[in-house]
């Protein structure tokens, strides 16, 4: 019993020495993954609402979806996908010890994030200009399902946009850390976790695109 237990123990136990709770690479990553799960579930509630109302009003969703600008949606998708690539490259760069390159790639990612937000802003602005927003007199005259579609559209892309904004802020903080050598070749978990978060933002968008823009 004891020897078997000792063996199974050695596999599951953290490395010897306890360098301190602040420097546990696997632990930090585990924590971030759990956080990513919670974010997925947060959006999950909205996806459930979307699924339910789409099942209730398939025709209305079809019509309303046709009014969204597919070109803008696809451009934003490309922007986000590319930004996921650049942040992954930034992590690789710092792992290879190339600090300047890592900072350049991370800045590029932040810029892409901003481009996404600017695009989104003009998209929303145009819609609101046309009188399409939750509670608007125009939507009140249309079918319930169409109004719900746009409510979900604003709610879900709005929450997603908030996450993009937080991501960009995180990247600026990471840039400062990189500049001050708090993120280094041998300690890059903060940047890696930022990347993990950014990929999550990306993945959620990949689901939002077909559900809203391509549902017509």
């Amino acid at each position: 019993m004891t020897s078997a237990a000792a063996e199974s123990t050695s596999e599951t136990q953290p490395a010897e020495g306890h360098a301190g709770p602040h420097r546990d690479y696997i632990g930090a990553k585990l924590g971030m993954w759990i956080f990513v799960f919670t974010e997925l579930i947060l959006f999950g509630g909205l996806f459930v609402a979307y699924g339910m109302y789409r099942a209730m009003f398939p025709q209305d969703f079809h019509h309303a979806s046709g009014e969204l600008n597919v070109t803008l949606g696809v451009i934003n998708t490309l922007v986000l996908l590319t930004s996921s690539l650049t942040i992954a490259m930034s992590i690789t760069a710092i792992r290879l010890g190339k600090k300047v390159q890592a900072m350049a790639l991370l800045s590029t990612t932040a810029v892409f994030g901003c481009v996404f937000l600017v695009n989104k802003f003009f998209e929303w602005k145009a819609k609101i200009h046309h009188g399409i927003f939750p509670g608007s007199p125009l939507l009140a005259q249309r079918h319930h399902g169409e109004a719900l579609f746009f409510s979900l559209y604003y709610g879900m892309t709005g929450l997603h946009g908030l996450h993009v904004t937080v991501g960009v802020i995180l990247m600026v903080i990471m840039l400062v850390f990189l500049a001050r050598n708090k993120i280094r070749q041998d300690d890059f978990i903060k940047l890696e976790n930022t990347g993990l978060y950014w990929h999550l933002v990306d993945v959620i968008w990949i689901f939002l695109l077909p559900l809203f823009y391509l549902a017509a």
Partner: protein
Amino acid sequence: MSTAVAPAAVRPAEEPSFYAHKGIASWLLTTDHKRIGILYLCAMITFFLVAMTIGFFMRLEHMTMGPTVMKPTTYNALFTLHGVIMIFLFVIPGLPAVFGNFFLPIMIGAPDVAFPRLNLMSWYLFMSGACIALTSLFTGGGPPDTGWSFYVPYSVTTGTNVTMAVFGAFVLGFSSILTGLNFITTMHRMRAKGMNWMRMPLFPWALYATAWVQVLATPILGITLLLVILERVFHLGIFNPALGGDPILYQHLFWIYSHPAVYIMIIPAMGAISEIIPTFAHRTIFGYKAIVMSSMGIAGVGSLVWAHHMFTSGMSQVAIITFSLLTFLVAIPSAIKIFNWVTTLHHGSIELRAPMLFALGFIFLFSIGGLTGLFQGALAVNVHLHDTYFIVGHFHYVMFGGTGFAFFAALHYWYPKMFGRMYNERTAVVAFVHMFVGFNLFYFTFLVLGLMGMPRRYYDHLPHFHVGHLIATVGSWILIAGLLIMVYNLVRGLFRKVEVPGNPWGGVTLEWTVPSPPPVENFHTLPVITEDPYHFNPVQPVAKETP
């Protein structure tokens, strides 16, 4: 639990305790899990006393028929506040935030939690959420009057300050998620050498099961509460039937979190009881693995029973029958625990100290709470009992008789370790007797009133409910008297100069190997675990068993 190195023996005798640093900043900026636990404890006892006072006035209102001490609108605000404060600020965070923070790292032989700064941030989020929720009472359109469940459409249409209260609950949820995340990572990464999963004590195990529920269920509450805010501010229409939305969707989303939240409340309570019972029976816990599995089982099955709060909402028959079945299933792991505790007592040499009395009180009251829950899970009975005092009686038996008594049991059990002081045990027993008698007088009457048809959340009552209400009100006075004696005794104990040994109860888990109160560094040398937990030296011959 035996350790290869006995840490208490090798550490310097005069090591200063974790209280040694003075000054308000040393508390507000601390990342020491023990201090954060104490911070939570102070905040929660305060909130508890506030909500208890509110409950006192609600009961007083029902002492006579017609208006007694307040207006109907005040009553609506008070039952909302009582629910919000008790649930979001005391019962849900209760045991994990206070005792989890203080003892989890020590019990698994770790220097701290995995993310100490995040831990402090959780406390600040908790306090911010609490402040936002409490501010909502005095600003905007007045205190929320929706009940703690914020049901739509009323929560969207009422002019009271629901938006702010809901935002406060959202922030509290965030705090809960971060605590859960922290605990899971801590248990995965920082267990002492030799402590494999099946050597982890049961309180950490309960926290582990709880943490997963916190992490997986709370985000649903987050999004639901955000949607209520968006409904109120931007009129999204998702829950508004006039705009094509469905209020039942709100109920589903709300209970997808709020039913598992019941298990966030009770699993750590069961974990604490699983520590106390073997210590005072001086005997290893019966069925260690069964208790572990039942914790995880409750967490798993308990996440799938939410719609039993909605049997009368007009769901499909298939859904109703499915959720009824699942509700009955969740009774199995809960019963397993009860049987294990009782069997642990069997052949034990039981020492009836104050913490043990509270623990036994827990078993009795929780059993009533759990069994009355089954009544409500039965479909036909549910229709009769829905929204009556039976429900109120049931969940007070579970949340107060269960989690509340377990909280107080844990407080009396770990008090000497946390403070290095001792309360007066005779007074503690007096307090317990008052609480136990008052509690049953109060809430058992509620069960009866509910069966007679007294609806919950009503400001007034009909003549034939009057005697019941009078008895319950008197019960509430005895209960509150007990609680006040207890708090007085615990506070006074802090100023009694009594030498407390490191291990006053003869406990065997790791927290009893460190001095009382623990020093800043939990362990001088990190312990190495060589045996299963709850390895008591038998004080009387007992049959050899394999847990």
